[in-house]
Symmetry: C2
Subunit: 513 residues, 2 copies
Amino acid sequence: MNGSVSLVRTLLENGVAVCFANPGTSEMHFVAALDSHPDMRCVLCLFEGGATGAADGYYRMAGRPAATLMHLSPGLGNGFANLHNARKAHSAIVNVVGDHATYHLNYESPLRGQTVALSQSVSHWTRMSDDSAAVARDGADAIRAAKSQGGQIATLILPADTAWGPADRPQISTAPAPLHRPSADQIAVAARALTAPGAALLIDGPALLDDLAELAGRIATRSGCRLIAPYTVSRIRRGDGAIAIERLGYPVAHNRQMLSSVGTLVLCGAEAPVSFFAYPDQPSLATPPECEVMALCGPTMDIGWTLTALADALDASQAAPLRIAQDLPALPTGALTLEAVADAIAALMPRDAIVVDEGITSVRPTTLRSLTARAHDWLHTTGGAIGQGLPCAVGAAIACPDRRVLALMGDGAAMYTLQSLWTMAREELDVTIVVFANRGYQILHSELTKVGAAAPGRNAARMLDVTAPDLDWVALAAGHGVRGSRVSDADGFVAALKRALETPGPCLIEVPC
Amino acid sequence: MNGSVSLVRTLLENGVAVCFANPGTSEMHFVAALDSHPDMRCVLCLFEGGATGAADGYYRMAGRPAATLMHLSPGLGNGFANLHNARKAHSAIVNVVGDHATYHLNYESPLRGQTVALSQSVSHWTRMSDDSAAVARDGADAIRAAKSQGGQIATLILPADTAWGPADRPQISTAPAPLHRPSADQIAVAARALTAPGAALLIDGPALLDDLAELAGRIATRSGCRLIAPYTVSRIRRGDGAIAIERLGYPVAHNRQMLSSVGTLVLCGAEAPVSFFAYPDQPSLATPPECEVMALCGPTMDIGWTLTALADALDASQAAPLRIAQDLPALPTGALTLEAVADAIAALMPRDAIVVDEGITSVRPTTLRSLTARAHDWLHTTGGAIGQGLPCAVGAAIACPDRRVLALMGDGAAMYTLQSLWTMAREELDVTIVVFANRGYQILHSELTKVGAAAPGRNAARMLDVTAPDLDWVALAAGHGVRGSRVSDADGFVAALKRALETPGPCLIEVPC
C-alpha cells in the first residue's frame, strides 16, 4: 500500500468515515485511495469553505470528527473561515491537505505557498508528513489531536511524495490525554457561590446537551442560581421538554441588562461573556464591574466531571430541573412580517428538527417564538465568520439523515458559501432553507449608526445594501439544482414551509423582508 | 480627524482611489470615513475573494494599486486564495483589514483570531497599527510596500480603536527602494550566451508589455535567441502587431518537448520553468538536464534596466522585432466544438479586448487560435488558485472602462467566486463571461489517470464530476442579475457572442462541452 491508502484505512479504522472533499491535483493519490475504499463516504463541495463548514456541522450533530480533503495553500485558505467557526465551536475536524512533493517545494511553482504557517494560524494541531511510511501514524495522531481538549482542528499536510510512496499498515490512534479538572477546593467554592443571591452559572458546549444539561438544570434548581448560555452556542437543545436555559444575545445593551443583577458568574464550559465587538467607551465584558467572574471550568476542560462534582457538592442529583413546556403559536395569516415567519416556523417545525441559525438580524423573532416549539436542536454561528450556515446544514443533515434540517439564513450570509446548495441537491439532503432577503447587511446599518454616522451617503449605502440589482433567490436555488419559491404573505409562507417539510430533498424559500 | 479619515485621505493623496470592499462591524469607522470621501470609488464584493481578486485584476490593467477592505481574521481568510494569485502575479495591493480594539483582544470573543499570522502567510508586508495617530504613516508605508519589489501584497491591520481615535493629517508615501540590478559582468555574460545556438530568453512581468516587450523582441532578433513566456502570465500582449513570444503550457511533456533543444535559458523577470505539480520519477524543471539556466534578473529586480542593458550590449536597439500578423478565422458553423468556440472568439474579439483566462482545459483551442486575433491583453491565472477569473475580470473592467473584458471560465473554477457576477451587474461592467460547462474538474480526470488509476469508481467520479444535478448557468447568472443564455451549436454561440459584445453590461454564455 502507499501512504494515501494507509491514511484512508487509518481514518476508517478510527471511525472517521465521512470526507467532505474539494481535491486538486496534489491530492490525486489520496483520491485514488478513497476510490478503492467505498466505505468512506465522500461528499463533494464546490468550494473548500463548504467542506470545512460541513465538517463542523457534522461534528456538532454526530459528536465524532469527519475528514476534509483540500488542496494546498489557497485551498486551505478557502476553508479558513469555517475552520475559524469550527474552532470556536470546539468541533473536532481532521483536515487532510495535499502539498507539493517535498523536492518540488524547492522551486517557485504557482501553487507553492506557506501551507504550514496558514494552517497554524487556525488549527490547534498541524503536521506535515515527511515520509510515506509515517503517514498512517501521522493520521492517527491527527485523529487523536482532533478528539483532544474537547474538540480541536487537526491539519495533516501530505506532500505528494508521501502520498505515493510506500507504507506498511494503518494505525490506531491512542486515547486523548485526560482533560484538566478543577480542584476540589474550586468545586466547593463554586458550589457555595451558586447558592448566593444573584449567582448565575454560564454553561456552554456539552453542558447544553443531554444528561449534562439535565445536571445543570438540577444544579440550578437546587442552588437557586440562574442558568445561562452564551449567544454563540455550537448546539443547544430547546423546545418541549428541554432544560430551561436563558440565553445571551448579540446587543451589548441587552446583555448588560440581562446580567445587571449577577453578583457571581460561574463559568462551566464557557468563556467570560465578552461582547462580539468593542465600542468606544464601552467595557468588553457584559457583566457588571462588581460581578465576580469565576472561571471554574474552561471549554477545553472536563465539563462533565465538573458538573457532576458541582451537583454532588450541592446534593442536587434528585432536584427537578426546570423544563420548557410546549406552547405552539397559531399559524399566521396576512402580512409577511418577521413575527409571522417566526410563528409559522415555531408552529410547523417537526420534533427533533435541527435549526441552523445564520439569520443574523432577521431571525430574532424566530429565536424567541420557537423556544416553546417541539423539541429541537439549535446550531448557531460560533465564530462570527458569515458563510457558516449552509455548509453547517450540509454536515448536520449527513450526520442525521432521519431528521429535518432548517437553515435560517440572512441573504448576505448565504452568499458566502452558496455552493453548498448544490451539495444538498447532489446528496438529496432534507434541508429547508429560509432566506431572509432584506437586501443588505442589515446588521451593519445599526453598527454604522453606533459609530455616530448620520444617514449613510452613497459610499456607505453601496457597501451595506445588496440592491441594484436584487438577488433572485429562486433563480440562485434553481441554478444549483434546488427547488425554490418566493412568498409574499404569511399564508404563502405557511404553505411553502409545509410543502418543503413534507418533500424529500432540499428546498429554498425566499422571504422578502 | 480620526485614524480612519487619516487613512482614507492618505490612500487618496497617494493615488489609491478604488476600494474593493467587504466590510464588517470592526470596519464601520473606516466605512464612515469612506462615506465622507466620495472621490474614493467603493466597489462592494459579496465575498472577500471577490475583493482581492478584483484588486489583482485592477493592478494588472491599471498598473497602480487598489485598496481592499476586509473584516478581521476569517474575512482576510476568505480573501487569501486570490491574494495568493496576486502575489504570484506581482500585483501591488493595499489590504485594509479591521480588527478588534486592542483592549478587546484580551478576551476570547467570537471573531478573535490570528489576523497577523494569517496575513504574514500570504502578504509581503504586514503591520498592525498600534495608535490612531500613526495610522496615516502606516498607510503611507503600506502603499510604499505595495509598490516595492515590482509589486507586493501589503496588509495594514487596523484595530477599531486606532480607527476611531484622533489623528493629525494624511501622509505621503516615500519612494520604494531602488530595484536590484544584475552586474555589468552578468549582463555581458548573458548577452554573449543569447547569441549562442540553442539560447532562449524567458521573460515575464513587465517584459511582456509595451516598450519592454519591444525591447525583448529586438534582443531576440539581434541575438537570434528564442523569446519565451511562462504559462502563468499575469498579462501578455497578443494578437495583431504584438511581439511574437512563444509560451509554455500546462502539460509537463509539452514543455519538455518545447525546451528540449535549449542549451542556455536566460531568465529576465521570470522564475525557472518549473512544472505546476510534481509527478513520480519526473524532474520538476522543464529544461533538459544539460541546459544552463541563467537567473539574470528575478521578478523583483529591475527588469526594464536589465532589458535595456542587454539590448545595449547586443547593439539591438535598431533591430526589428518579430511581430504577430492578424489572421482571423472564418466564423464557425455547425457543431459546438471547443474549436468552433475558439474560432468565434478569435474572429469576434474586438481590438484591445482584455481576456481573462480561467478556462483550464477547455480554453486551449481558444488560446491557440486567438493568437492572431485583433490586438488584445491576456490575463492568466498566476497562482493556480481557482476562483480568480471572475474577480479579476471585475478589476480589469473597472481599470479600463473603455475596453471589453472577456472572461473564459471553466465551470468548476467559476463556482469558487461566483458572487462576482453580482458586482459586474451592480457596476454595469462590460464583461462577457463564457462558461465552458464540461460538468466537472476535467483537469483532475487526466491527473487521476497520471497517477495510474484505471477508470474512476464511484468515489472518484463523485469527487471529479459536477453532475447530478447539473448546474444551470443561465439561472445562476439571472440570480445575480446578469443576462445569460445557453447555446447548443456554433451558430448560436456566434450570435450570442456578437450580441454580448455589442450590449453594455455583463452577459454570460453557457457552452455545454
